[in-house]
Symmetry: C2
Subunit: 920 residues, 2 copies
């Protein structure tokens, strides 16, 4: 398309000289550049640098950067991605000028190495590797030892004084080249190799004599002749051109296309090709190869960390035939090379300003650097290295903050299984609440409590949990259920308590009667100890070594820096005073969600709640509610006092009432059984009555039923009681000079009118308390935005709301029409695996759907009320990518479970810094 002019586009307008000049170099389909100077298709390593990934690919840019930094890199050159694209545009022929440039580059490499390509005396051998902008592992194998033929073989043999080595190199070369470049079935070569080993009685490849190898090579050539209908190319230049063409072709093989589709990599990037002179670590005891980190990737300690092998090639280290030595041993074995390597490591770390993971080879005492990249590291190491490097003035605080992933901070806050430990996984369920726990299996809550009192560590195992199990969960180290999703009772309660939980482990067969479970063929009986890992969902046999949670000095420091960069506040979800205290300890700036229904579920209150629900009229209901009032007031006193000076958002009752009643199914079975057994009716009359009541309350789709503010509009007396409890607690505390900031949140609003009327009840109740107590306290009223319609009508809803809090879990469920509990067990995992969804929208906010609704709500809500405070209190509040979205949308805060607060602080800083960067 024409570009550069501001006039309205005219069809087929001729480019002016000026606009033509401004355009990037245009390459015609046959690869001929429009400009007279020949296009540059080939770059020596010394000509490139790290920023040229688009043109040279990741690998090419990397070796170029090292070369540029003066490191001893085996010389070579890169053929550009543009050449690859021109190849395709030009009927799969090399673009004009490429051959000449390649020859020139080769001459340059010959000069640097003192060897010559195809020289029978002193042959230059090269490797040929693909290298696209983004790493595409397995797209094409590497061709090594290219340049070998009958005559250069002799040169290599003479030069290395090792004919066997040379023959083996040639054998490997023919095998790889024929398979990759000529498309011969690799199995044929394997068969031939096996046959010759059998015939010569060689146990391993290494036992093959030179004579046997020579025979094998002859056999390989025959195979090529027969299958590829051509002689194996002897001319090194022909070999090279064929290998490069094969790399270009491999960009569009099925495996590569599938990989790109899967990873959403554009198909028009093309791949570069790297041609590099070979070096050999297996040329005797003054040769060797190894890998090393500039710092300990496990602890972050500042010392070289790695291993190496003498007289070996990289493959040998990987194959594990010989045990490598620690890198420190090299100081004795090869002191000169070691010293040089140490210097290079320091230099590389300074150059890249990060821990480097390096590969090197020593050929006859001479060190070559083959690769360097940022080193992967553990969470501890990441934190320590980032903070240390600030101390060493290597990086800024801002960079340090950006160097540690929020998930890494998260890991440090839970006891976890030592990553180096070998474990026997019995089953895998949902990672419902992070952390690892070890203990004896128990199958009911009472027994869990009893054993815990005797000082035992226990893990509560249930099919599903319900409110009756809560005391057992409190007593246990962790919880395992065989049914239910990440929002099941077990999962939600465990997360709130910060206890490890594996939920919905469907392959765990729980037999409550026999007090045992079976998983992976193992039977675990009551009292047998085992381990769960709530961070990965694994159920593990026996005891495994664990790492304790800690907030190290370094992490504290890093989080303080993060706080100074972030704009988003981080609040916590918590239902109890001890949650609030913990959250504060982790740096929470408020309580974003205090769920009142968990308070209803406690053992001493549930019977009152049940009587309240089954009340036949409003008067009876009020009587029971009056009994609940003191409990609720105490709950709120506790949490408001713990958050002294900070806001606390209390959500009014949300779940459908039948959640507080016994299970319909259990009652049905009980009554049916009693009837079938012919028991007198009086024996089960109460149960039958309860069954009828529960049946009445039952819903086909309880998530979309009578819950949230709908309850309050039907039974205003419930929210009157809750409001009274909140306001009375706040007034009491204020009199005791506690600084209280209660905020009352109305759930499941779908119309402005619902909120307006609910607010009327709240305000009237608060006014009544103020009159009675002759005191006032400032409180806010706001609402969850958790239904699409609430977001779409935010403008009207904001008229009655001082704050919005996105309930992104329900919002995701309704926006997608997908129940999390039902979806995760049945199809969501497949959806994510097969990339029907790019990620699980219950873990990371769906940008296009849910995000768009949130954006509408934020913009239109604030248009009505400029001072509207907007936050998020769903599970997504602790997810880094979702936090980034919240930053983009200009939310005021995110609220997550207490244990995720530190990670969220870090994520909020990341989000802000990224946003600032983007806005530049």
């Amino acid at each position: 398309m024409a570009a550069g002019t501001r006039r309205p586009p005219a069809k087929k307008k001729q480019l002016t000289a000026k606009t033509a000049k401004a355009k990037p170099k245009k390459v015609s389909p046959d690869g001929r550049a429009r400009r007279p100077a020949a296009h540059k298709w080939v770059y020596l390593f010394a000509e490139g640098n790290a920023t040229m990934r688009d043109l040279l690919g990741g690998k090419g840019a990397g070796v170029a950067e090292m070369t540029r930094a003066g490191l001893p890199v085996p010389p070579g050159f890169t053929i550009t991605t543009e050449a690859c694209n021109a190849f395709y545009a030009n009927a799969r022929k090399f673009p004009r000028g490429m051959d000449e440039q390649m020859d020139a580059a080769l001459r340059h490499v010959e000069k640097q190495t003192g060897k010559r390509f195809g020289d029978p005396k002193n042959p230059l051998l090269v490797s040929v590797r693909s290298g696209a902008k983004f790493s595409m592992p397995g797209m094409m194998d590497t061709v090594l030892n290219l340049g070998l033929n009958a005559s250069t073989l002799e040169g290599l043999a003479a030069l290395t004084k090792d004919r066997r080595f040379a023959l083996d190199a040639q054998r490997r070369f023919i095998q790889l080249f024929s398979k990759i470049v000529l498309g011969v079935d690799g199995q044929r070569f394997e068969d031939a190799l096996d046959e010759i080993k059998r015939k010569t009685g060689a146990a391993t490849d290494a036992d093959l004599t030179p004579a046997a190898l020579q025979k094998l090579i002859d056999r390989y050539r025959e195979i090529v002749r027969r299958d590829a209908k051509t002689d194996f190319p002897e001319d090194p230049r022909q070999q090279l051109r064929a290998a490069i063409g094969a790399v270009f072709q491999s960009w569009n093989n099925k495996r590569a296309i599938d990989y790109r589709n899967f990873n959403r990599i554009p198909h028009d990037l093309g791949t570069a090709v790297n041609v590099q002179s070979m070096v050999f670590g297996n040329m005797g005891s003054d040769s060797g190869t190894g890998v090393a980190f500039t710092r300990d990737p496990s602890t972050g300690e500042k010392r070289l960390y790695g291993e190496y092998l003498t007289n070996a090639q990289g493959e040998d280290v990987v194959a594990g035939i010989r045990t490598p030595k620690p890198i420190a041993a090299m100081a004795k074995d090869l002191p000169k090379a070691y010293k040089q390597f140490e210097q290079i490591a320091r230099k590389l770390e300074r150059h890249y300003r990060d821990v480097q993971d390096m590969e090197f080879t020593i050929e006859r005492g001479r060190l070559y650097m083959l690769q360097t990249r940022s080193g992967k590291r553990t969470a501890e190491a990441a934190v320590k290295i980032a903070v240390d490097m600030v101390g060493e003035r290597l990086i800024s605080r801002r960079e340090a903050v950006m160097r540690v992933e929020p998930t890494q901070a998260d890991q440090l806050l839970h006891r976890r299984i030592d990553p180096s430990a070998k474990v026997e996984v019995l089953a895998t369920g949902l990672a419902a609440s992070p952390g690892a726990a070890y203990g004896k299996a128990v199958f009911d809550a009472d027994r869990a409590e009893a054993m815990a009192k005797e000082g035992e560590s226990v893990i509560l195992v249930r099919i599903e949990t319900n409110p009756d199990d809560v005391h057992g969960m409190i007593a246990a180290q962790g919880v395992l259920t065989s049914r239910g999703g990440r929002t099941s009772h077990a999962a939600v309660v465990a997360r709130g308590m910060g206890k490890p939980c594996v939920a919905g482990a469907e392959s765990v067969a729980v037999d409550l009667d026999r007090r045992q479970f079976t998983a992976g063929g193992t039977i675990v009986k009551e009292g047998d100890a085992f381990t769960i890992d709530g961070g990965t969902g694994r159920v593990i046999a026996g005891r495994v070594p664990m790492l304790e949670a800690e907030i190290s000095r370094e992490l504290q420091e890093l989080l303080r820096w993060a706080d100074s960069f972030r704009r988003l506040e981080v609040w916590a979800n918590g239902d109890y005073p001890h949650d609030a205290e913990r959250a504060r300890g982790f740096g929470a700036q408020g309580i974003g969600l205090c769920r009142t229904e968990h308070m209803f579920m406690e053992q001493n209150r549930l019977p009152i709640v049940q009587r309240m629900i089954l009340a036949s009229d409003s008067e009876e209901r009020r009587r029971e509610l009056a009994l609940l009032l003191p409990f609720q007031r105490d709950d709120f006193r506790g949490i408001l006092a713990a958050m002294h000076g900070l806001p606390v958002i209390i959500r009014l009752i949300d779940p459908p009432l039948h959640e507080f009643l016994p299970s319909y199914e259990d009652l049905l079975v009980e009554v049916t059984r009693a009837q079938a057994q012919g028991k007198p009716e009086a024996d089960y009359r109460d149960q039958a009555r309860l069954l009828a009541a529960v049946r009445d309350l039952r819903e086909q789709n309880p998530m979309l039923g009578l819950r949230g503010c709908r309850l309050g509009l039907l039974f205003p007396e419930i929210i009157e009681m809750q409001t009274r409890a909140i306001i009375e607690a706040a007034v009491q505390l204020k009199k005791e000079r506690v600084s209280v900031h209660p905020e009352i949140m109305v759930p499941l609003v779908s119309t402005a009118e619902e909120l307006r009327r609910t607010r009327e009840v709240i305000d009237a109740t608060a006014q009544a308390v103020f009159r009675e107590t002759k005191a006032t306290v400032r409180y806010l009223v706001g609402t969850m935005i958790e239904l699409p319609r609430a977001a779409l009508t935010a403008r009207a809803i904001a008229e009655s709301a001082e704050f919005f809090s996105f309930g992104t879990n329900d919002l995701t469920q309704t926006t997608f029409g997908m129940s999390r509990d039902d979806a995760e067990g049945k199809f969501l995992i497949k959806y994510v695996e097969e990339k029907i969804l790019p990620y699980n929208p219950f873990e990371t906010i769906d940008h296009d759907g849910v995000g768009r609704l949130m954006q509408i709500a934020v913009e239109e809500g604030r248009r009505t009320r400029g001072s509207l405070s907007v936050g998020i209190c769903g599970e997504h509040g602790g997810d880094p990518e979702s936090i980034a979205l919240c930053e983009e949308m200009g939310l005021d805060y995110v609220s997550c479970s207490p244990y995720r607060v530190p990670a969220a602080r870090l994520a909020a800083a990341h989000a802000r810094l990224t946003q600032v960067e983007r806005d530049r």
Copy 2:
């Protein structure tokens, strides 16, 4: 705001002389007009007309129009709504000039009537009535006979030669005036009246002698003196001022404010006051009163229709003490007045160009018209009158179309209970499928079928229905269930069949064991006949007279006119060939939704479907699907052939699979019972296995679970089979020269990727059939837009969709987070009653939430694909208000059940005509 100039608005810009002139008269708060001329507060009836409702109120504008038309209306005048507002702005005092204008108007009325206000000889009496722009029944009662006092009483008595009449008039006046204007408790007067009747031994009011009435009047005066602390006003002018003030005040009494809040009438409209000279129909045998229609409001026949009473007042007709005579009798009784009335009726009809409902009074042979308004009429009458009036060149075709409500057309298409019949309602459930049915109660499907075969009319009564009941539903005249909502199985299937259904009648206690139900204290046993009315939800005792459905010649004509005005196409939902034929007969232009799952539910297929669902692997599933293929192909052949030349949208399988399996609850009870009774395990092994399978498939919120396109992505073989059946049927028919237009619709899409992949399977299957049959057929692929996310990402979805069809039922459920089945039984009715929602969003599309999503989908979908066809196939497709919204949004078609097609054609015409009017 400044108006009239096109320049950018300047703040506080002075009005130019020209723009100031253009502004409406501005009234200052104290009622003093800015302009020197006094503001006009009072209009004689002769000065107003029908267009002045804002100023004169509905009633004032009406009598003015009649007066203007030269009809004999008792003279009077109207005090404007502006006067009312000025009254409030002026500390509840009449605005300046109003008194004088009132006096002048009164003088005018005196001149016209020849009577004088307060004249002891020939007194003018008046009525005082409120009259706001919108009718507000019961806001304020009328004061009659105002102007009576001790002296004018004598005049009235002398004039009427009936002292008793005069005294009774005065008694009534004091009673009404004191209650309404002076605020005296009305009960006091009733007590005094009762007392004097007791004392004088009078059985009725009419038995009171003049002496007793005089005594009563004295007693009334005492009551006023004591309770209102004032003498009853004797001065007629004072009476009048007080009455007018009271009317003004009544605008802001609680009852009126509540009414306006409820009906969303603005509070600043104010009310007008009508003062009209009294006429009396009870002045002897040459007097009378009556009501009449210009045409028969029941049949539409063109003849005067109504009734009258001689020597009576309007109240007497209403009270029903005397039986009125048909209006025709007046021709003999009062021939002159009758002739005049006939002429007036004709004139009024011509003037208003519509049937008039008139009130009149004859005072001593002289006819007075008191009121005229458009006459309410039955559906038949509405159609006949509209079409007749076009023939009479009274109205245009366009007007005729607008005169008939779509719901009226709808009524005519179902057998219905004669509106004049007296019925005993036993219970009321949900109006689930319209029409009335009469038959004997039966309690299971087999028996229903058997009895129907013997020629009996039966009504199937069930707690809920399921697929096993379908043959019984086919055999029955109608269906009654005690549980389930408007989207329950019974409701959906009955609507599809066009059979009456009352669903979820919770007060009907069905006892399947005893084969009887109890409702409203009545027991209906099997074989007892009763009636249901699916249009109102009533369950009625015994047999009642019914009106048969018919599409009259006039309705046909009207619908043809409607077709010529509408832009929206009207399609129908139908699953079977006979649905399609019926729909075509009603004028449907395509099938907008053919649900394939109902085909699965038929008795001979269900076992195959169940085996398919329970298949352990894809191969087994394919085997069962192969058995289903011929059935499905025949289904599609049938419907495609029936719609020859028109499009048929076939939706791929949608419901969760467990809907095809036996109920979990039933199985649980069965297995539990067998176990409890100690039966050998072999006896119930199959049931236990089935129970386990159903438990696995069960979902907590099935509406949000594994259904729709999710099924097809998990089990592509199902949609392969369905696509194959559709395409094979289409290819066969095409070879038989049938013009087929199959469109395949993918349900429950929430992401573009779901549709893209499903489409791949559909297209690949179609191509395979084309290859096998060596033929092709044009088909479209599209999707339901029934989830918020689908609407929000319509731009991407339209890339794979050739059409969108809004599934507004599910879209409403997810947008509101509200399950229709659960909500309608529990809180939705209350929501609508209490105006938390302005209307039921499952009947009429929610404009602000669901409508906004639809708008987004239409606009953004069409941006991607200009040719995108967009329609709606939910229940809303037949709702007139929703059709209007579809017209506004520019949809291409609406699709509804076959029986609603005629009404939808009319509604589409209404919508278009209204839209055109608005765009003018």
